[in-house]
């Protein structure tokens, strides 16, 4: 099979004979492009005519690795696909296999998983918040967010042993049990977050006039664009569509908890910002309910299987990660090595909408817009 070594350039990016068109290349090494994203901009003056994201710099062949090891061996990979939602991805993979193989998860493990995943979601949003402000020039909130995040990481570290990339889930439950110290720490963290930090972020950042000027009306994603590009997560919810996998296809025990799905209609950067702050609040609510209702009991099934051989067939399992709809598509042939494992990651589709969103905007807004989409390159490149 031959492939062209020097492929045709993107026809949308051709200069079209306009002498004032020039090209600006942002990244892949750039203090601000989150991760290794290369953005080629076709510009005239300060206006962007066309944008082309170039990805693949963080491709580590996770899907190929999945085809070369058994289901249990792939567990550590899952966290590294999106290291900011590492817990969510890790647990999601476990939940996918459990659904396929009909493995019953003990109640206590379910509650612990919810606590860990929602804390992970909060920490992912906090990091986004800090780095977003960093891109806009407000350096101080970054430190405060990391302070909060440090507490979450310490809490999760105390029970899982890892700070960022977890292998906490197992098929059927979780590895280590939580104790009263964990619960106390989590409660203290939630209290600080809800009573002190989130209102502070809202007031000092969200109400700041310069911040509002930079974000309002900037980077509008319309419902139509979101639909055609398969955008999910906060980017979709900022356009008015109340789609959250935790509500649309409830998994684990999310249907037992009271939480709102925040939406906005403006679809601009400010909407996404407000939305994520609200989502952090809602996640705090969920963690609180989970901690209050944490039952006693085992954290793994009484007789965990030794080999995992899903019956032959194709399976799809979706969860809501911090960035949107994360889907695991598994094709099994009855052995303990998958035939195919496809990771449908939300940032992949979210980023693909950039050409449409960035067209006819100003280059100075690029940083704000790409930052507000909250992409994590490793999950795009896998």
């Amino acid at each position: 099979m031959s492939t062209e070594p020097n492929p045709e350039p993107n026809p949308a990016m051709a200069p079209d004979g306009d002498p004032e068109v020039y090209y600006l290349n942002m990244g892949p090494q750039h203090p601000s492009m989150h991760g290794v994203l290369r953005l080629v901009l076709k510009m005239r003056g300060e206006e962007i005519l066309e944008a082309e994201p170039v990805i693949g710099y963080a491709h580590r062949a996770h899907e190929k690795m999945a085809e070369n090891r058994n289901y249990l061996m792939f567990l550590p990979n899952t966290s590294r696909v999106d290291y900011l939602s590492g817990m969510i991805y890790n647990i999601a993979y476990c939940q996918a296999i459990e659904k396929i193989m009909d493995i019953e998860v003990p109640e206590r493990a379910e509650y612990i998983r919810i606590i860990a995943c929602e804390l992970n979601r909060i920490s992912s949003h906090l990091l986004w918040f800090g780095t977003f402000l960093l891109d806009l020039g407000g350096i101080t909130p970054f430190l405060y967010c990391f302070d909060d995040r440090e507490e979450i990481l310490d809490i999760l570290d105390s029970v899982t042993g890892s700070r960022l990339t977890y292998s906490y889930g197992r098929f059927g439950g979780v590895t280590m049990d939580v104790d009263s110290a964990f619960v106390a720490r989590t409660r203290a963290f939630l209290a600080r977050m809800r009573d002190e930090r989130l209102p502070k972020y809202r007031r000092l950042v969200g109400d700041n006039v310069i911040f509002r000027e930079r974000c309002e009306g900037v980077g509008v994603i319309t419902r139509d664009v979101a639909f055609r590009y398969g955008v999910t997560g906060p980017c979709l919810r900022s356009t008015g569509v109340a789609y959250d996998v935790r509500r649309a296809e409830p998994y684990s025990i999310y249907d037992r908890f009271e939480f709102k799905i925040p939406t906005r209609v403006e679809g601009d950067t400010m909407a996404r910002f407000d939305l994520r702050i609200e989502e952090m609040e809602e996640s705090c609510k969920i963690v609180e309910q989970a901690v209050d209702g944490l039952p006693e009991g085992p954290i793994m099934p009484a007789k965990p299987k030794k080999r995992y051989r899903p019956p032959a067939g194709e399976y799809y399992f979706a969860v809501e990660s911090a960035r949107g709809h994360f889907g695991t598509y598994i094709i099994s042939d009855g052995t303990d090595v998958p035939v195919k494992l496809k990771l449908r990651t939300p940032s992949f589709s979210n980023l693909s909408s950039m050409p449409d969103v960035l067209r006819n905007t100003m280059v100075a807004d690029t940083i704000a817009i790409v930052g507000s989409i909250d992409v994590v390159m490793p999950e795009i490149d896998r």
Binding site: L24, P31, D135, G137, I139, L143, D147, E213, A364
Partner: protein, 351 residues
């Protein structure tokens, strides 16, 4: 005659006749002061930023890190001077000099106390602004000479920003000049020659506030505010630091400068901050005037307080986008400063 304010004796008077001695002392004094000043300000900035960000800042070198800047300077001095190949050599090498030299000259004209000033020039306020403007040429030389798209973009933005914000800066200063000229003229005893206070001389403005007993900020609050905002913009500090924004254009017009050359730009920025703060101190806050404590304490105290305010701004606000920055200048600050000037003139006419 005895209770009229006297013009200070200047260094020039002391060494009158001996020009070389004058230059020697003046240059030594200024350079010494500026160096110490930069060392202090860099340390102050790092400490203020650290405490705003819930951390400590430099703590290792010296007591609470006071010698950190010395260590950094030594490091910068020892760095290899990497000169990119495709630069425009004269422009690239002269740019730091052009940015830095004028601000040194400006320091000579400030009255640190009733009798402590290096040079007494009649039009000192105008001179300060002129020298401030020369630095802008240096910025453009740096951007163009670097032969780098990012540096050029940064330089163009910086130049546009600086020349735009000079207007409200000067207009608000003009309000004070008008004020001094329009008030009951204060007669100054200048070597037994009586003359009315001149609004365009920094020394005279300070003398008038000292003599009257109140500071001009009370009468010209709007001008003071406009001046301060324009000053922050002039020095390319946040929230107006698009030209040096790290996340936007790597490092703006001084992208291609490393080592000691980079240090010169850095130095120039802090010196610029000192200059605009000193002008603000003299124009609006009475210069050296203040009860109890000696003049220089008041003068430097007020100056550094204003600088502390500038630093506070930097670590609190996000950055304004360039077009927002420009439209803020042209649609808000300039009309406001013009209105302020007209109102000042009107009020003075009616009184």
């Amino acid at each position: 005659m005895s209770n009229l304010p006297t013009a200070p004796e200047t260094l020039a008077d002391y060494v009158s006749g001996n020009l070389w001695l004058f230059f020697a002392i003046a240059t030594a004094a200024i350079m010494g002061y500026l160096t110490l000043n930069a060392l202090f300000l860099i340390w102050l900035e790092r400490k203020i930023s650290a405490h705003i960000q819930r951390r400590l800042g430099p703590m290792e070198v010296g007591w609470h890190g006071v010698l950190q800047t010395v260590a950094d300077m030594l490091k910068l001095l020892s760095k290899q001077l990497v000169t990119p190949r495709a630069i425009d050599k004269p422009l690239y090498h002269l740019a730091p000099v052009v940015v830095f030299a004028p601000v040194i000259a400006s320091v000579a004209m400030f009255p640190f106390a009733e009798d402590l000033v290096i040079l007494d020039i009649e039009l000192s306020l105008a001179y300060v602004f002129v020298f401030g403007g020369i630095g802008i040429i240096g910025i453009f030389m740096a951007g163009w000479g670097s032969n780098n798209k990012y540096a050029l973009l940064g330089a163009m933005r910086s130049v546009a920003q600086n020349i735009s914000y000079e207007i409200p800066l000067i207009l608000s200063a003009l309000s004070v000049v008008l004020l001094v000229s329009g008030l009951e003229p204060v007669i100054i005893n200048d070597n037994d020659q009586l003359r009315p206070a001149s609004g365009i001389s920094l020394i005279d403005i300070a003398i008038v506030q000292d003599a009257k007993g109140w500071w001009f900020v009370l009468v010209q609050p709007v001008a003071a505010l406009i001046y301060f905002i324009a000053a922050v913009a002039e020095t390319n500090r946040a929230p107006f630091d698009i030209p040096e924004a790290e996340s936007e254009l790597v490092a703006g017009f001084h992208t291609e400068y490393s080592g000691m050359r980079f240090a010169m730009f850095f130095f120039a920025e802090y010196t610029n901050m000192i200059i605009v703060s000193m002008v603000a101190t003299v124009l609006f806050f009475g210069g050296w005037s203040g009860p109890l404590l000696p003049g220089p304490v008041w003068f430097f105290g007020k100056t550094y307080l204003l600088i502390g305010g500038m630093m506070w701004f930097r670590w609190t606000f996000p950055r304004l986008r360039f077009d927002q920055l420009m439209s803020f200048c042209w649609t808000v600050l300039i009309p406001l400063s013009i209105v302020n000037l007209l109102v000042t003139a009107l009020v003075l006419e009616l009184l």
